[in-house]
């Protein structure tokens, strides 16, 4: 739950063992952050900040969750802060929303333009989920998304957050949210097709 303040999370002091944190959780937290913010240097910084913040609050941890869950919650809040700063920077959000999609659809009749028209890729059945090459292309395509689109996509499709929560945290209107969801998918799909064939 991103909105919950992790400081309220309570812990049993015996359950906290900071001398083991790096060896036990650093790779896990790093992976978690990298996937969600698409920037490995920043992910590294966030892992460090997470441990240091946790250290300051360790007296407040009372063991109602595991150490790992507690650390992840702190990291999650830091990730949302990154999303927020990315989405509210000068005109960043607006740019992404106003970006023209006539590239994908004909501006008069809304029909697919030739180069973006979906073709069968052989991934329509879910066994594509095991295809490593396809996974690699999807990751590369996601990296190319504008930061705000990536944040929205990641919060919705990876973390399964509610639309209300995403709009609130990223200061989006619901109609902007749907525009971003739509453009992101059209864009990702087109990128997959371009790189897969």
């Amino acid at each position: 739950m991103l909105t919950k303040d992790p400081e309220i999370e309570t812990i049993d002091n015996d359950a906290v063992n900071p001398r083991m944190w790096v060896s036990m959780y650093a790779d896990y937290l790093y992976t978690y952050a990298s996937f969600r913010i698409n920037n490995e240097d920043l992910a590294r910084d966030l892992v460090q900040e997470t441990f240091l913040a946790a250290l300051e609050r360790k007296e407040k941890f009372e063991g109602r969750s595991t150490e790992k869950t507690w650390l992840t919650a702190i990291l999650k809040n830091k990730i949302v802060d990154v999303y927020r700063s990315r989405s509210t920077g000068p005109a960043k959000g607006a740019d992404a929303i106003n970006a023209d999609d006539t590239d994908f659809f004909d501006s008069n009749d809304g029909h697919w333009n030739d180069q973006h028209r979906p073709a069968e890729l052989g991934i329509e059945q879910s066994d594509a989920l095991e295809n490593k090459e396809f996974q690699k292309i999807l990751k590369a395509c996601m990296k190319k998304l504008p930061a705000l689109w990536f944040s929205v996509f990641s919060m919705k499709h990876i973390d399964d957050e509610t639309t209300e929560m995403i709009c609130r945290e990223l200061k989006l209107t619901s109609s902007n949210f749907w525009v971003i969801i739509h453009r992101t998918k059209v864009n990702l799909r087109s990128c997959l097709q371009k790189n897969w064939i």
Binding site: T31, R44, H111, H157, L188
Partner: protein, 95 residues
């Protein structure tokens, strides 16, 4: 609900932008009864958007799977980890 007239039907039948928007909205939220009918009419005549819909669902599933920690784990470099643990230990001793 009022009947859809001919020009509205034509608009729906040809508007892939609108159809794909409704597909995305339906996958994670709610669309109205009227929108459901519009989408159905469109998909009945547009195999391209049917393909889009299938691929869109696969992309969602794959993204979730790929980015769930535990599926693939990245590694921080050892030097960084060592420094970090030292920093934590120093901080601990201060308290």
């Amino acid at each position: 609900m009022k009947e859809l007239n001919e020009s509205e039907l034509k608009k729906i039948a040809y508007n892939c932008r609108k159809a794909t928007f409704l597909i995305e909205k339906q996958q994670i939220g709610q669309i109205t009864q009227r929108e459901k009918i519009e989408l159905k009419i469109h998909l009945a005549g547009c195999s391209i958007c049917v393909t889009f819909m299938q691929q869109s669902a696969v992309i969602n599933q794959m993204a979730r799977k790929l980015f769930t920690a535990g599926y693939t784990e990245l590694k921080l470099d050892d030097g960084f980890k060592e420094q970090l643990q030292k920093r934590i230990n120093t901080q601990l001793e201060k308290n």
